[in-house]
Amino acid sequence: MLGLALDLLIAALVIGVALWTVRTRDDFAAIVGFVAYGLLLTLAWARLAAYDVALTEAAIGGGVTGVILLRASIRLKPVATARKPIGARILVGLLCAAISAALAAVVLLPMTPAPSLAIEVRTHLASTGLGNPIAGVLMAYRALDTFLETVVVLLALFGVWSLTPDAAWGGRPAMAVPAAAFGPLPLFGRLLIPVGIVIGVYIVWVGADAPGGKFQGATILAAMWILAMMAGLTQAPSIGRWRLRLLLAAGPIVFLAIGLAGIPLAGAFLAYPEALAKPLILLIEVALTLSIAATLGLLVAGPPDVTPGVEP
């Protein structure tokens, strides 16, 4: 009973915050609404016992995306967005309502219980040495998706970098540095960063057997790096540096190398020799964590605007 009340409350809040986020005219308020919406979705996933999804939603959906939106809104001059004509709004509303109604019908009136792959996922899990079925899906059964998603994230970073002014190519992104070296942000940074790094590493490590994993852990590591940059404790690196690029590419390179080695050693691309499956998967996860953390941090830092060799 209490569970049902809680679920209803979360559902009502999700819809309410979503509506408010769409309706508000102020950029900043909309972003805060979006982050709150992400946190509420995290609760919803947790209530569904999908802890991996909940962690990811909190880290990526609410966290990193919120920070990126905030930085974008600070960069933009405040613009008064005119309301669309009433006809267009009604049309969009009707379309959304139709899609929602059709989705609701499909979800609420199932023809047969939806088949599930859960049993098969667990049956084959032993051969991968993993304990968390989600990790099994991501690193073994659908490893190709995971590999290509890391390429997508990297490509998104290159897309952000493509907006660099020509003169600043090879330079570094400037972060606003607080005036006082001992203000609240640097102090906060010094206290939180060591703790955050430990938590991030733990979440990556535990991901093989329990909810967690590289994406979630890497996001926390990236957040600590971003905090250090924002607090002025460190500078964003120059995008022309070879070591940085190696760090970004390390995850996909290790993944690909092990995947290709699977062709002669285990009979197929992205197959693991059974005796070595667990250590190889861990090796990929470590390399991916470093690359994803670096990529996410640089996505937040944005395109370089400091010309190489010229310091402001």
């Binding site: 997508v152 907006l163 020509d166 062709i263 992205l270």
Partner: protein, 504 residues
Amino acid sequence: MTAALMATTPGGLLLVLAVVVPVIGILALWLVRARDIEWVAIATLAVNLFLSLATLQAVRASDAPLVYLVGGWLPPLGLALRVDGIAAVLMAMTGAIVAVTALYARGQFGFDPQGPERRRPMVFWTMLLAITGALNLIFAGEDLFNLYVALELLTFAAVPLVSLDGSRDTLEAALRYLVFALAGSVLYLLGVAVIYGAYGTLDLVVLSEIRGAEGALLLAIALMTAGLIAKTALFPLHLWLPPAHAGAPAAASAILSALVVKGSFFLILRLWFDLLPPGLGTIGANGLGLLGAGAVIVGSVLALRQARLKLLVAYSTVAQIGYLFLIFPLATGSEAASPFASLAWTGGVLQLLAHAFAKAAMFMAAGLVYEAIGHDRIDGFRGLGRLAPITVLTMTLAGLSLMGLPPSGGFSAKWLMLSASLGEGAWWWAVVILAGGLLAAGYVFRILMPAFSTPDAPAERLHPVALTRELAALSLAVIAILIGFLPLSPWPLLAIGRLIQVSP
């Protein structure tokens, strides 16, 4: 049946390599010295061309699709890659056009082998390789989520090409493209979720055997089709295309117009012919055909009214995409043993091929015209034929194919579609095809008439253009013409490995 379809075939490894090699190229690009990026990219695309031709040859020789089980896991647990006849043809087309574009783009974008690394060449070559890999995966993918990843790769690679110049206008065009493309992605992903919820698998081969006429399937296909239409720029969701394709640098426009929009189109084709139960989609197929007809007419009329060559060519893409959607009513309405043995199926694929080669050639030529005379205003084209004869020849040949005059790939495509519509008694599609051809003749002659006329005063060429670049553009136009010499009948290759072999 599943067991037979679901085992790695000899040559299946080619499909893995076709997806992986471009990714290796991208990673290498960012790690090698600045002066080496061009040859690394071109070498990667050369390997890719070889792989795609080998794939086509393997499918032809074995008369069966190539299959690879990634990680050795059988779907629905794992992912399979599968290339049938039509996918192999499109992979080979992509390999060829991308390779020729690379030759055309060599030394462009301020690339300086002696100087420091620059933004535009780095971004261009990275995204060109990414588009190649993404399209290979779209043609080879068999799992709807795997295909979603491919669509994301394609979008994230295509959008930065639009704003490569970095001007305000192109940034705006790129942003608009991004919004349309992401809205499309969301709708597609929603459909994927509905299908997974209903069937517990996303593998197209498995799905084609277990699905019935359930509401969930129909809703999912409707959502995914709507999303993919936005990415394909089918009328009336075409608004993003002209500024985006016209604003990109010529080499990028060629890829965007010739190939990128075909990726999402191919997925619509797969949803409608592999997933939708036969006989169910008649109304929907006619609806798609109607939108296609609208695209042919509206796109052509708008192309006629453009003052600038690149915008004209971009609006022509809107129109030529429209023809592709006539496949849906014509192939489902055909009397042939299966839709894949119909005239319209082959006609549609020929249209896709011919347009890809002709449009890539046309955009490259537009870029060369801009370099030769410093602008692309059509009213200033007088005497162009003397200044840049090879480029004008390229535009003429590509234009023939766009109009559908014989002998050309465009003619064969439109002739097959015309025969299909008359054969089925659906004369109204024939009217659209003919009207579109007339309007296309109008906009092509608008370019060619001044180009072939004698100038009032002898004009001068602003910049010399490398002969290899002119020949690169010409070679694509010649291929568009040569496609017209293929036999005018259904092409057995295009029916190899199709999932539904029986007529509804």
